[in-house]
């Protein structure tokens, strides 16, 4: 590997590589797609931030609706600490395994380790979804349906929207695994993986808000 050094730059070996976009940069070994990646990753960050505003306002709506149970089941009747904890652990671990996948993409030339970490991440994401759907099903059987009260409407617009994002991210991950299998690690696949990493870590950040405010706040 040759490092790119400017002729009159004596510090080239001590300073980190130029940072092209927010998040993990793949560095000079993946130069071929660096130009488009800069725009696409930054653009994805802008989208992510607009998504953050949607979630933030749904959180605010949820808080204003906390008192509006209309005689129906409230947070302490419907939420379980244990399943919220399991979901939190699944999602947190999947965020870490995606980080490991990013490092495998950056530093290894073979696909095996990358694909293994991605598959682990996918399984954890699907486990999270299965658990969440099981939770919703249980809430439904206890009379916690969206039309029951303002509180439940607000809950079911906030938490399942996050779940829907996770479903989307899982489908994207499967599509990227297909791309890796068919095309190998070509520039569009690499860019896709980097954007999905941002989405995945971001969804974990939103989940911190959900488990703290909705589940822990509701049970205490």
């Amino acid at each position: 590997m040759t490092t790119i050094t400017k002729p009159n730059d004596g510090h080239a070996n001590r300073t980190p590589h130029r940072v092209h976009h927010p998040g993990l940069n793949l560095g000079p070994a993946h130069q071929e797609s660096e130009d488009t990646r800069e725009e696409m990753v930054f653009g994805f960050w802008v989208f992510m931030m607009s998504d953050l505003i949607i979630f933030g306002l749904l959180f605010a709506t949820y808080v204003t609706m906390l008192g509006g149970t209309a005689g129906g089941p409230g947070p302490s009747d419907l939420f379980e600490l244990k399943s919220a904890f399991i979901e939190t652990m699944l999602l947190l671990t999947s965020s870490f395994t995606f980080g490991m996948a990013s490092l495998a993409l950056k530093y290894r030339s073979d696909r095996k380790v990358l694909v293994i970490w991605l598959l682990v991440t996918l399984l954890l994401g699907l486990g999270f979804l299965a658990h969440e759907l099981h939770d919703f099903h249980k809430m439904f059987t206890e009379g916690g349906v969206p039309s029951r009260s303002g509180f439940l409407s607000a809950f079911f617009s906030l938490v399942p929207l996050h779940g829907l994002h996770v479903i989307g991210a899982c489908i994207w991950l499967i599509a990227l695994l297909g791309q890796i299998a068919v095309h190998g690690l070509d520039p569009p696949t690499k860019t896709g993986l980097m954007r999905l990493a941002i989405l995945w870590h971001f969804l974990d950040v939103v989940w911190i808000g959900i488990f703290s405010l909705v589940y822990l706040g509701g049970i205490v």
Binding site: M1, V19, L24, L57, G67, L92, V205, G209, L216
Partner: protein, 115 residues
């Protein structure tokens, strides 16, 4: 070979990035376990517990941005930090305004809705 031949600088970058993910994971675990543990096993006053939960959540969000999303205060990453901070400003105005207006309305017209 499975490993690409890494330059010395890349090898250093790799180990520091791996450390960053491990630190992030460890800190996030601790910051998750504290609020869940307190909620499950202690009889703390609700007010204090809310504060601890909120504090842990805010710190954990910062940890995720720093260690998983690699957003730092470094000079060459200022643009995205500005993007995030601007979004937080917009959020604070809209969320704060929503809560202020609606809870004021509840206070005046629908006291039942107040927590």
């Amino acid at each position: 070979m499975s490993h690409r031949q890494l330059s010395e600088q890349e090898a250093r970058e790799k180990s520091s990035e791996l450390r960053s993910y491990l630190w992030g994971f460890g800190l996030a675990l601790i910051l998750t376990l504290i609020p869940f543990g307190l909620a499950a096993y202690t009889q703390m006053a609700a007010g204090t517990l809310y504060l601890v939960i909120a504090g842990c959540a805010v710190i954990q969000i910062v940890v995720h941005f720093r260690f998983f999303l690699h957003i730092t205060l470094a000079r060459n990453k200022r643009e995205d930090l500005q993007l995030i901070l601007f979004t937080v400003l917009i959020l604070a105005i809209m969320v704060g305004g929503t809560l202020w207006i609606l809870f004021n309305l509840y206070y005046r017209m629908m006291p039942d809705m107040l927590p």
